[in-house]
């Protein structure tokens, strides 16, 4: 297999894993205020992210770094064309990280309240903007020999906003299910109920998204040419249905796995549909950025493949180990006992 294809697969996997993991961080960051009834409960909910969020975020840096190393032209053009939305994502991610790490570094209600508000903003904006960005990548960016012909407002088109809404609802449900399974008692019941409530609009938006995709993008062409790939979007739908079914059965862990599967498969659906493009041009197909015309040299790709195949499994290994260490449910009692930790 050509190295470009290996790296395309890796590129898709890095983004998919990133959204699956940071997705519940964002979701939790957005819903914590609606689930927690008092300060201790809030610390409990946010405490479920404590040991893992930082490791989750690195998947984004790796996805970015991998794009730079394997597809430098795409990295360069994507980041400079999407300057303003990326800047907003960057500021939000900084705000989110600082909010999570500093909210417990000072006693006092106002201090925590302000950082909690920062956490909501820092979780909401990246979710929405990543959705808008990927929606626009799916339909293609207006670029040709003269460069890029868009701006922040051309990105806010109906399909871009729809994808933004899809990401928001996906992560809101994902985060609520995460809290449901990581906590117990009342908190868990409340987040479970919230996830069920959010599931209906998610289903509605997902259906509209699947239909609109046929008109706004060329993503389905690859599936029509190769129907076996249809298994991927079908799995996404099964994951979505599974989330709801397991929630109703009170099986929050299985619901979480289902919702994780949905996110993975949604991203894979988009990535498979893009192939061999990384960013299609919406105005001149000759200027689409493909894995062949924007990649690094075979030598670099070979070395980076060796690096990735060595280290990514190790990373997955110790991250799974981390989730095992912290597999216990976080309770308000623990939170009180650990004092300043949360």
């Amino acid at each position: 297999m050509e190295f470009q294809i290996i790296w395309f697969v890796l590129w898709g996997v890095l983004w998919a894993v990133y959204f699956m993991l940071d997705g519940f961080d964002f979701g939790t960051g957005m819903v914590h205020k609606f689930i927690a009834r008092n300060e201790v409960e809030k610390r409990t909910v946010i405490g479920t992210l404590g040991p893992v969020w930082d490791g989750n975020e690195v998947w984004l840096l790796t996805a970015g770094g991998a794009t730079f190393a394997a597809f430098p032209t795409t990295y360069a053009l994507m980041f400079s064309y999407l300057y303003t939305p990326l800047l907003l994502i960057l500021f939000s991610l900084i705000l989110r990280g600082v909010a999570l790490e500093l909210r417990n570094k000072e006693e006092g209600e106002a201090w925590r309240r302000n950082w909690d508000a920062a956490l909501v903003v820092g979780s909401f904006l990246p979710t929405l903007l990543f959705g808008v960005a990927f929606g626009n990548i799916f339909q293609g960016l207006p670029m040709d020999a003269g460069g890029y012909h868009g701006n922040l407002f051309t990105l806010l088109n109906p399909y871009g906003l729809l994808t933004g809404a899809l990401f928001l609802l996906l992560f809101l449900v994902h985060g609520s299910v995460w809290i449901a399974f990581k906590t117990g008692g009342d908190i868990s019941a409340r987040s479970s109920a919230l996830a069920e409530k959010l599931w209906n609009p998610l289903l509605a938006v997902a259906v509209v998204f699947l239909a609109f995709t046929a008109f706004a993008t060329k993503l389905y062409d690859n599936f029509l040419g190769n129907p076996a790939w249809m298994a991927v979007p079908v799995l996404a739908v099964l994951g979505l249905v599974g989330t709801r079914v397991f929630l109703a059965m009170g099986e929050s862990l299985k619901a979480f796995y289902s919702s994780a599967l949905t996110i993975l498969m949604v991203v894979f659906t988009g990535v498979i549909g893009l192939y061999p493009n990384l960013i299609p041009s919406s105005i001149d197909p000759a200027h689409s950025l493909t894995i062949f015309n924007s990649s690094s040299s075979p030598y670099t790709l070979k070395i980076m493949t060796a690096v990735a195949l060595t280290f990514v499994p190790i990373v997955i290994g110790y991250q799974i180990w981390t989730y095992r260490i912290f597999r216990h449910k976080v309770t308000p009692e623990d939170t009180m006992k650990s004092g300043a930790l949360y």
């Binding site: 404590g50 040991p51 893992v52 969020w53 930082d54 490791g55 975020e57 690195v58 984004l60 840096l61 790796t62 970015g64 770094g65 991998a66 730079f68 190393a69 394997a70 430098p72 032209t73 990295y75 360069a76 053009l77 994507m78 980041f79 400079s80 064309y81 300057y83 303003t84 990326l86 800047l87 960057l90 500021f91 991610l93 900084i94 990280g97 600082v98 790490e101 500093l102 570094k105 000072e106 460069g147 890029y148 690094s296 040299s297 030598y299 670099t300 070395i303 980076m304 690096v307 990735a308 280290f311 990514v312 990373v315 110790y318 991250q319 981390t322 260490i325 912290f326 930790l341």
Partner: protein, 445 residues
């Protein structure tokens, strides 16, 4: 100002801000790991309390280092797209490896360390902070191999309108990158040593937790003495490789205008950039600069005048930054030596002057780090990749000056706020001591 100037300014602001947090992380992670290891080995509770106290300050600093680091990766693509396209084939590799092999490790194990106190064994807990310490230092290695390549490009050919990697091993073993790594990491250890000594001194003089803070001071003094000597020695080799591979930068660092052999080292130099000469150069030691540059007192040094004007770096900024860093570096060795000798003889409590001055010295190693980066980056101008690609060719074509104005103002305000929060929290928690209680006001006279 155009998008180029603004992008350069923005890179300088965001890199300098990021590098307020990095050096302390590099050094303090090592010290905290050492403290926890001592606790696991001896069972002595004081080491545990030290681990927790310094660990808390470490975490505040670490959080800001991590979040401001994301900016750096984004910025290459956002503001320097032409550069990224041109060098991505070789420059992207170390950045991607840094994320995969080092950053994952540090971000995952910091979570285990913070939340794992009663979840894993004492030994495994100490191992996790060592992994964080090693991973942060490993992170620095990959980033500095990337920067080392910009300074002394190796292992590439120009092909397909870009620099393509042909020898990964050459980039991996680039002596410039390794010297930069040694020099940078050791400078971070000096920052951490002065940070710990300064805060410990503040408490000792208030007779607060004397045993714990004397122990901290002793540890930091030894660490500071060793690192300040080593950073100087490595710095000497670093300067030599600059002389050899970046002659224009070296000439600017020392303000050498004429090409000549057996160049003296002048203690007193006042550059006159307009007149392309030094208006004052006095107190010279014959042949010493040649010796510094090539470890041979007869060697020839290329002067600035042998370079076309548009290929000379800003002389005054490079020269002043380098001189000031050098003076600070010498001062660090002297202060660490004094601090170490006094601490070893258990004379801290009877040296109130030393204790009084140490907290005020905390900013100086930080300043030296910033000056060092100014020498490295300003001195490389007008090149972004020395001798291969100019900075002015690297800026993104798709961005307007309005966009960069907005982002630069945004960064300045946002980072200003974060810097304020950081200083506030560090001051508060370092004053509070290990039990979270402010010390009484009685002082050692």
């Amino acid at each position: 100002m155009d998008a180029l100037t603004l992008s350069r300014l923005q890179f300088a602001v965001t890199a300098a801000f990021h590098f307020i947090f990095v050096p302390l992380t590099l050094g303090l992670s090592m010290l905290v790991a050492f403290m926890e290891t001592r606790y696991v080995r001896t069972g002595d509770e004081t080491w545990l309390r030290m681990t927790r106290f310094w660990g808390k300050l470490f975490l505040i600093n670490f959080a800001l280092g991590v979040v401001t680091g994301i900016t750096m990766e984004f910025q290459f693509g956002m503001n320097w797209a032409e550069y990224s396209k041109y060098v991505g084939d070789i420059f992207g590799a170390p950045l991607a490896i840094e994320a995969t092999a080092a950053f994952f490790l540090e971000s995952t194990f910091i979570g285990i360390w913070i939340f794992g106190w009663d979840k894993i064994s004492k030994k495994a807990h100490a191992v996790s902070i060592w992994l964080v310490a090693v991973a942060t230092n490993l992170s620095a290695l990959w980033i500095l191999l990337a920067n080392g390549w910009m300074q002394k490009p190796v292992g590439y050919v120009l092909r397909n309108n870009r620099a393509e990697m042909v020898d990964f091993g050459a980039m991996l073993t680039n002596p410039y990158g390794w010297l930069k790594f040694g020099h940078t990491v050791l400078s971070g250890y000096v920052v951490a040593a002065f940070f710990v000594m300064g805060i410990a001194a503040w408490h000792i003089i208030r007779r607060n937790e004397i045993d714990l803070f004397k122990r901290s001071f002793r540890l930091a003094a030894g660490f500071g003495l060793a690192s300040s000597i080593l950073v100087f020695i490595v710095g000497d080799f670093h300067a030599a490789i600059v002389a050899q591979s970046q002659p224009a930068k070296f000439a600017a660092m020392e303000s050498v205008w004429e090409t000549q052999k057996s160049v003296p080292y002048n203690m007193l130099v006042v550059p006159d950039v307009e007149g392309e000469r030094n208006s004052v150069s006095a107190a010279g030691v014959p042949g010493l600069l040649s010796f510094f540059a090539f470890h041979d007192s007869d060697a020839e040094i290329r002067g600035l005048k042998s370079f076309p004007k548009d290929e000379r770096p800003p002389v005054l900024a490079t020269f002043l930054s380098f001189r000031s860093m050098l003076v600070l570096g010498i001062a660090f060795m002297a202060i660490s030596l004094a601090a170490y000798l006094i601490a070893r003889k258990d004379g801290l409590e009877s040296s109130p002057n030393l204790l009084r001055v140490m907290p005020w010295l905390i900013p100086l190693p930080y300043l030296a780090c910033q000056l060092g980066w100014l020498v490295a980056e300003v001195g490389r101008q007008p090149w972004i990749v020395y001798g291969v690609f100019k900075t002015s060719d690297g800026v993104s074509k798709a961005i307007s000056s309005g966009q960069v104005w907005a982002s630069l103002i945004g960064f300045t305000l946002f980072y200003g706020f974060l810097g304020f929060v950081d200083i506030y929290l560090l001051t508060k928690h370092s004053r509070k001591g290990p039990d979270g209680i402010l010390p009484a006001t009685a002082r050692i006279a």
